[in-house]
């Protein structure tokens, strides 16, 4: 995908990224981060901790926000910042949607940039993550 800075308008929406993070993805993420709390991959451990099932790690979600922006931005620029504020857990294997909109288009120090508002929407239609990103376009 190619996004032209000149054509970008505040309020433009990013394509919705539909995902269904599987237990396999979560286990690979635990391996990448070398962190293994059992409630991320063991349903019984999750239930013992008071959760309905295994949940998606928060640090994994910031990477998913990055992915949504990266797939939209393509080769048009690079991502300067992604933030995720976690509001509620997401269960493994449940569908999630990552949404986004352009909040601000501006030039700063000669760089062409845009701020994006992001969200992960859970199966009940509630935001489980509120996110934010800053992208910089190639000159």
């Amino acid at each position: 995908m190619t996004v032209a800075f000149g054509a970008l308008r505040e309020g433009d929406e990013l394509p919705v990224l539909h995902l269904q993070p599987s237990l396999g993805m979560i286990i690979r993420h635990c391996a990448l981060q070398w962190t293994f709390p059992a409630f991320f991959y063991d349903p019984e451990a999750a239930k013992a901790a008071g959760m309905p099932g295994t949940i998606i790690p928060g640090p994994f979600k910031v990477g998913l926000l990055y992915r949504a922006v990266d797939e939209w931005l393509g080769e048009s620029g690079w991502i300067r910042q992604v933030r995720a504020a976690h509001r509620r857990p997401d269960q493994t294997n449940n569908p999630i949607d990552i949404t986004g909109r352009v909040a601000r288009v501006y030039e700063e120090g000669g760089a062409k940039r845009a701020d994006l508002e992001l969200a992960i929407i859970n199966i009940e239609g509630q935001p489980s993550v509120r996110g934010f990103a800053v992208v910089e376009f190639h000159q």
């Binding site: 901790a49 991502i79 976690h86």
Partner: protein, 155 residues
Amino acid sequence: MPDQSLLTDEVRAMVGRESASGAVEVTLRGWRHAVEVYTGEVPSHTPNDGDPVSGYAIAALETDYEATELPNLLPNSILIANQWEFERPLRMGETLTAFYRLVDVNERFGGRFGYSIDFRAEVVYRDAAGAVVARSGRTMTQYDPAEARAADGEP
């Protein structure tokens, strides 16, 4: 809620203190693993040394670096925010120097966790010239489950 603030001088003195620095490297293996984890696909190209690579690579750098343990001031701990920040794209094969620091500590009164304490920490990555290249941050909240209204957020 405790009778007095848990943010003692000793805890406040931790803010801004930098850990010993260590070297981390943007490797092809780490970058490929990170891309596969977040996109579900094996990258179709192989970047050369010096090529800019997607920021997923920072997740592999995090693994290379040990963060300092936070003090346990309240019984439960939950992750409430994460952040990746880049001053420029990471480059394949580059060696960076990383250090950990606690950026801020704040008390909160009320809200969904009742009395709670937020710890905002980050790992900072610098290049050979000392310029900051990237930061990976997280905010943890410590709280007493007896005061929390609902178990929102991420463990």
